[in-house]
Amino acid sequence: MSGDRQGLLQLEGLTKAFGGLLAVSRVSFDVAEGEILGLLGPNGSGKTTLLNLVAGALRADEGRVRLAGRDITCLPASVRTRLGIARTFQLVRPLSKLSALDNVLVARLYGRDAPGFTAARRESLQLLDVVGIRGKADAPAAHLTLMERKRVEIARALATQPRVLLLDEPLAGLNPTEVDAALNIFRRIRDSGITVVLVEHNVRAVRALCHRIIVLNYGQNVVQGAPDDVLARPEVIEAYLGKASADFQ
């Protein structure tokens, strides 16, 4: 898929080491506009580091990141957000004293094509509706449950009007009912045309949502392709089993 279309997000030989540990090593791939790309790999395979390099939380040692052809490798995170890269965290990190609405609102006000205050407030309420917690709009984020905070975080990421949304294990810690609810939200996001890079251990979710999967191991991309093909490959099962075999259903 990456060959025949100009990638919206292009990673080229990305490398990042922490001390002597090579967390990400010469990773290259393109993500096409509107694509949902799943990133799989055992713990420690460099998935989160890769997201950090794309979002700007970490600076790459080598390699380039491009968004719509523009080199963003050296831009700070806040600028990348305004250019259209949003992310959620494995460990949710809302602004805990602010209300759910304010969390989304502040993201909308400082995102791409930010409208005036009143319009931003209205749109933020709509986003809370999309993720299904409009009723908790005025509750401080610290008082919300884990699932509710994840919903706020997704709404907050969407509020920046991203072109690319990076989701870091959004389903971790959720029970099966909550996973289904979250999948419904992701389907709505997918159908709205936003490009998504999804890091997730839940294979069922990856299979249900993603157009394409890349498997990382030891910081390198091992294999990529359509979900069903990739998940059937022996080297993937080998890389993956033992760590997260319980997720295979």
Binding site: S78, R93, L95, S96, K97, G111, R156
Partner: protein
């Protein structure tokens, strides 16, 4: 009874200024984790703006507020760029420690500059209505202090609206909550830091001009105001505007009552004792949930 009530009224009126004086410091500390112990000196400078406008052109001190606020806003922005910008890249703990050192240095410099420029004498503003009072029953209310209190309340209401109903205000609250998370939603926190410090300084300027309405201004008043502000912030809880204002009123009343009941020597002591008790029993402030 009347005399008790009279003391309470005086306490409330001075307490409004304590509240306003503390809010700027609280805002700066909340957003930047910078404890600007020269905040009282900024209040002193605000007082001098009013004194000079009155001395030169007979400008009413309530009007001078409109000059003291913006002037200190600009001055605060300059001070931040000069002295505090570099701290932003350090951890919170390092920032607090170093900002206290920088603040003490700044306080000494500002105080000395004020003495050089204007002498060490006390200066007062004497508008025509200076001595006028309104009598309610047997209790007298000095009009100038009542006006200062009302204006302080208006300014705090305005600040509340700014923080909750504007883009920059929302970003300020987000940055105060978690500056890393704020960066991630695209907030340029460097600019927010600058805004917060300038705004905190402007609030000090406004407070200083209002102090001049009823009290004399001298280069030495700064430290006293910084201390009051710290007590009020601890009583009211960090980052809670109306909590801070109410704590200011509370401190004002407590001081004037104890001054009356125990003797004037104990005025200041009571505030400090409350400070210690609250710190040890309710370290997040009287009004925290």
């Amino acid at each position: 009874m009347t005399i008790l009530l009279q003391n309470a009224v005086f306490g409330l009126l001075i307490g409004g200024l304590y509240g306003l004086g503390a809010v700027g410091l609280s805002l700066v500390f909340g957003v930047l984790a910078v404890l600007n112990v020269a905040h009282g000196e900024l209040i002193m400078l605000g007082g001098y703006v009013s004194v000079w406008l009155f001395t030169l052109w007979r400008v009413d001190p309530f009007v001078s507020v409109l000059a003291a606020g913006p002037l200190l806003f600009l001055g605060g922005a300059a001070l931040f760029r000069l002295l505090f910008t570099r701290l932003a890249s350090y951890s919170e703990e390092v920032r607090i420690k170093n900002s206290i050192l920088i603040g003490f240095g700044l306080a000494l410099v500002l105080q000395t500059l004020a003495i050089l420029a204007w002498g060490a004498d006390e200066r007062a503003v004497t508008p025509s209505y200076a001595g006028r009072v309104a009598a309610i029953g047997n209790v007298v209310v000095p009009l100038s202090r009542l006006g200062a209190m009302a204006l302080a309340f208006l300014v705090l209401g305005g600040l509340h609206l700014f923080l909750t109903r504007t883009r920059a205000g929302t970003a300020l609250r987000a940055t105060a909550d978690d500056d890393q998370a704020a960066t991630l939603v695209g907030i340029p926190i460097g600019r927010i830091y600058l805004t917060a410090f300038a705004l905190g300084s402007a609030l000090a300027g406004v407070a200083g001009a209002l102090v001049s309405v009823s009290d004399a201004i001298s280069p030495a008043i700064g430290l006293g105001w910084t201390l009051k502000a710290l007590i009020v912030i601890v009583l009211g809880g960090m980052g809670n505007i109306f909590g801070t204002f109410v704590a200011g009123l509370f401190l004002g009343v407590a001081e004037s009552m104890s001054g009356f009941l125990l003797g004037n020597a104990y005025r200041e002591v009571v505030g400090l004792v409350m400070f210690l008790i609250v710190l040890s029993v309710r370290p997040r402030g009287l009004f925290s949930r």
